[in-house]
């Protein structure tokens, strides 16, 4: 690993910190990112970005904190960064800033591997096809879309991204961990026109390494997903908007990931003081928040886009059952806020770069139902009729209950202290109206009501909905999902709306 060669900077940082009486967490990052954008077979962008740097998080003996970063991994840069951070920590003392005793706990953390345990290699070697091979494969994937119906004047814009990222976390208590967090993504964006409107369909496959997503199986999966997205987008383009109101909602796994991420995960992060899932600053552990069949888990999965085995504070990341049998069971706890939130440290903190101070973040979050029913159709090619049939088979298609199937996740946002969330869907289908299409919709609501409303899961667990989470302006990889279909009962505080 490249970060193995940063020993001189590590020694310089530790020596400088020791001389200044500072406790230290040093985060070193070395990233190589390849990004290719192809439009209708022609290369629009093709670049490899490299960045290496270090961030120094220091704490005085009396608990004042300072931080410094530099995009330079030479020993002199490390020395100067520690000095800058130290001066800032002293300045924080001068203004009566907040203190922490977290740094003093570091050596007590049993979750930390033995100092000097050596690098933790994420399985596999970073395998990336050569530039010409990658472009050829992507072009071939675009050519394969010719048979996918997409409307007039179609343009296909494909983005390929492969990040070879290495971290080295070193602490003044002797911990020194080296690990990789590679991730890769291939996304098609198909744009066309129908009746004068722009129609846009997006589909993605993601994984650990470039070679994982440029193989025939994932490419075939992407092709199927693109076809489904294009079909939904075309249907929505000339469809009326859904009537505003509350519905029995059926979410595909990408939307379910959005629900898990925005309405559950963020509320369980230990640094979110005042989350609606807290009382007097502590998570309401033990409270029944959902049906007993519901479990929500966050944690790394092998080969996952958002895998991170070690936290940004050098603590092994643990899988966490946030909701277990419907009960709030745990939080995502990091070194600095877990105690105040009343939860153990679970190695939850992440940083998108050496420039960031880490905070508790999710990796792969998924909703699981103990009594999920089976699904006959392929989740990647689900039609609205398939969904209606699946619901009917599960006894959940009731003519007295307006039922809407949402497809195509457009991203979301949550406010953990207010307890509300919003996310967007590309298309909707009214399952009581012959699964007839509706236009794009916004799904807004209160997080606790969404948890209570989860009533059923249908099909296998699909936990590869990939994206980026931009909490506090720091973008880290995120993924997750649920069963192929997740069903929520109607609730007046869970509302569908659309511009008319």
């Amino acid at each position: 690993m490249r970060v193995c060669h940063f020993d001189a900077a590590v020694d310089a940082a530790l020596t400088t910190a020791r001389a200044a009486g500072l406790r230290l967490i040093l985060r070193m990052q070395d990233t190589v990112e390849r990004r290719l954008v192809m439009v209708d077979g022609g290369i629009d962008r093709d670049r490899t970005n490299r960045l290496a740097g270090l961030g120094v998080h220091v704490c005085t003996e009396d608990g004042f904190v300072g931080f410094a970063s530099v995009d330079d991994v030479r020993p002199e840069a490390a020395t100067e960064a520690v000095r800058r951070a130290g001066r800032l920590a002293i300045a924080a003392r001068a203004i009566g800033g907040g203190r922490t005793d977290a740094f003093q706990q570091l050596s007590d953390l049993s979750a930390t591997p033995e100092p000097g345990a050596g690098p933790m290699q994420t399985p596999g070697v970073c395998r990336t096809p050569g530039p010409a091979d990658t472009a050829s494969i992507v072009r071939g994937a675009q050519d394969d879309l010719a048979v996918v119906p997409a409307g007039a004047g179609r343009t296909i814009r494909t983005t390929f991204s492969a990040v070879d990222e290495e971290w080295r976390i070193v602490r003044s208590d002797g911990a020194d961990l080296q690990f990789r967090t590679p991730h890769a993504l291939l996304r098609h964006e198909v744009t066309s026109r129908l009746n004068g409107n722009v129609v846009r369909a997006v589909a993605t496959v993601a994984g650990l390494e470039a070679a994982d997503i440029l193989e025939p199986l994932p490419l075939a999966r992407l092709w199927r997903r693109t076809g489904r997205a294009a079909r939904d987008a075309l249907a929505a383009a000339s469809a009326p908007p859904p009537a505003a109101g509350s519905y029995r909602l059926v979410l595909n796994h990408a939307l379910a990931k959005g629900l898990a991420h925005e309405a559950i995960g963020h509320l369980c992060e230990s640094d979110v003081d005042g989350s609606v899932l807290m009382r007097h600053g502590r998570l309401r552990i033990g409270e029944q928040l959902a049906r007993a069949t519901v479990t929500v888990v966050d944690g790394p999965l092998p080969g996952d886009f958002a895998q991170q085995p070690v936290s940004a504070n050098g603590i092994l990341r643990q899988p966490v059952a946030l909701i277990e049998h419907g009960v709030l069971a745990a939080g995502l706890g990091d070194l600095f806020s877990a105690a105040a939130a009343g939860v153990p440290i679970t190695g939850a903190c992440r940083a998108s770069s050496f420039r960031d101070r880490p905070t508790p973040r999710m990796t792969n979050i998924r909703i699981q139902l103990a009594d999920a029913s089976t699904l006959a159709a392929d989740p990647d090619t689900l039609t609205a009729d398939d969904v209606a049939a699946a619901l009917d088979g599960a006894g959940l298609l009731d003519s007295r209950i307006p039922t809407l199937y949402l497809a195509g996740y457009r991203g979301g946002q949550a406010h953990p202290r207010r307890g509300d969330f919003v996310f967007g869907a590309d298309a909707a289908y009214d399952l009581l109206d012959g699964a007839s299409p509706r236009g794009p919709a916004s799904f807004t609501g209160l997080a606790e009501r969404a948890l209570e409303a989860i009533v059923a899961g249908i099909g296998p667990i699909c936990a590869d909905a990939a994206g980026m989470c931009s909490k506090d302006g720091s973008a880290v990889t995120s993924s997750g999902g649920s069963h192929a279909l997740l069903v929520l009962d109607p609730d007046p505080d869970l509302v569908i709306s659309a511009a008319t």
Binding site: V39, G42, I43, D44, D46, R47, T48, R50, L51, A52, H57, V65, F67, A68, V70, D71, D72, R84, A85, L88, A89, A91, A92, I95, G97, G98, T100, G130, P131, G153, T155, T191, S192, R193, N197, V198, R200, P241, A244, L335, F336, S337, R357, T359, R410, G411, G412, Q413, H415, R417, R418, V422, G424, P440, S442, T444, S497, A498, A499, T500
Partner: protein
């Protein structure tokens, strides 16, 4: 010799690899230092918001090779300081431009004098950063004086040097600063300052008072009047809406590639997009605004350019390459806010007049989830959880409202008025028709 000068000297020697040479190039380098301090739940500093410093040397690079290929990439410190080590990697990323031609490069020429550097900000980096930390005290004392229970804030400053140069003789180097304050009181009332000029104690005091007073108003729950007739969108909200629904659709690349609701025909025919008194302008010459710089990263000089003039589409946002492809002018590229300016030939209302005209309605400062709305459709449907109720022209407490509609239609409706807010470069928008407004 600076690192950027050394890189320019290296590229000027026509370096080569694998039998091909670099025949032309363009680069931008930035070397800067930043400071950040924060307040979390009324406490400055701490493990998440402790004072932070960041040092950076980077930029972007474009190389034209003798065999007609082009390479583009970002520059990290190592690339700037030791470019010979990266030459082979840059060559391996080379590709045939879609247009079949190497992109044009800026030649020698002047750039306008614009104000991008405040010595008061630069001084923060010469020694003691305490003045920045003192801003935290102003925030805490100012908000508490107005009854704040909880304060969260982020204060930032940066100072650096930027260089843009091409092999065709363009060269521009300038110093730039940035100062920003974002603060929230009781998680209800927020305010923001972001310019290249240091936020003075008076400005910080003003932000603190403004946020605290707003928070006090918003503490009280209120009900949307049955007579509510519209919404006053504050400047930051207008900037966000235009940035989401208009600017991406006015990108030349999006129009060229069919990803915009606007077409090449619309450009050529100067299709009417907005009401005839309205213009949409980018301006990178505004003194000490974040948008301002003497040139873009490609060397397009600063200036003011209308994308929509008197309602008609006149120009897309275009970089040099796509401008040459489409036969349009390359446009100045705002580096930050205001990303775009909405202007009117009709009189602009002041805040009090706008509220009086509104009568009953809401003021909206934030629409969470805007990024989830389909940009190409220019339509949105969202909840504003902390909208401020207006009754009889007087701003009151908060209520959650659903807002929906088509942004272009809302901007263009004959009853929509622009609103000038003191201290803001952008304008607010009073929308009285075309907006669906319901209690949430």
């Amino acid at each position: 010799m600076t690192a950027a000068d050394a890189l320019i000297a290296f590229l000027s020697q026509t370096p080569g690899v694998e039998g091909v040479t670099v025949i032309d190039w363009r680069l931008e380098t930035v070397q800067d230092e930043g400071l950040r301090v924060g307040i979390r739940d009324s406490e400055p500093g701490g493990p998440y918001e402790g004072p932070a410093s960041a040092i950076r040397l980077g930029g972007s690079l474009q190389l034209h090779w003798s065999d007609g290929l082009v390479s583009r990439g970002s520059l990290d410190r190592r690339a700037v300081e030791a470019p010979s080590e990266r030459l082979a990697a840059w060559r391996s990323d080379a590709f045939h431009p879609r247009s079949g031609r190497l992109p044009p490069l800026a030649g020698p020429g002047g750039v306008p004098a614009v104000q991008t550097c405040d010595p008061a900000v630069a001084d923060l980096f010469a020694g003691d950063p305490t003045p920045l930390l003192v801003q935290l005290h102003h925030i805490l004392s100012g908000t508490r004086a107005h009854g704040a229970r909880r304060v969260d804030a982020i204060v930032r400053a940066s100072f650096g040097e930027r260089t843009v140069a091409t092999s065709r003789g363009f060269f521009c180097r300038w110093l730039e600063t940035a100062s920003s304050v974002r603060l929230w009181v009781d998680e209800l009332g927020g305010s923001r300052y972001e310019r290249r000029k240091l936020a003075s104690p008076a400005i910080v005091d003003g932000l603190a008072a403004q946020s605290a007073v707003l928070a006090r108003q918003l503490h009280a729950p209120a009900h949307l009047s049955e007579m509510a007739r519209g919404v006053l969108l504050m400047p930051a909200m207008v900037d966000a809406l235009l940035g989401r629904f208009l600017l991406p659709n006015l990108s030349a690349r999006a129009i060229r590639d069919g990803r915009s609701p606007f077409t090449l025909d619309d450009l050529q025919s100067r299709r009417e997009i907005l009401r005839r008194d309205l213009s949409l302008v980018v301006d990178t010459t505004l003194p000490y605004e974040m948008a301002t710089a003497p040139c873009s990263s490609e060397g397009v000089p600063a200036g003011r350019a209308a994308l929509i003039q008197r309602g008609t589409l006149v120009a897309p946002l275009a970089d040099l390459e796509v401008a040459a492809e489409m036969g349009v002018q390359a446009t100045p590229s705002p580096r930050g806010r205001p990303h775009v300016l909405l202007e009117s030939e009709e009189p602009v209302l002041g805040l009090d007049a706008a509220l009086a005209l509104l009568g009953d309605g809401v003021i909206v400062r934030d629409l969470p989830g805007l990024h989830t709305q389909p940009a190409r459709r220019t339509m949105y449907a969202l909840v504003a959880p902390d909208a401020q109720v207006v009754r009889g022209g007087a701003a009151g407490g908060h209520c959650a409202v659903r807002l929906a509609g088509n942004v272009v239609q809302q901007v263009s409706h004959r009853t929509t008025r622009l609103v000038r807010i003191n201290g803001e470069a952008g304008t607010g928008l009073l929308v009285l028709d075309g907006v669906e407004l319901l209690p949430a």
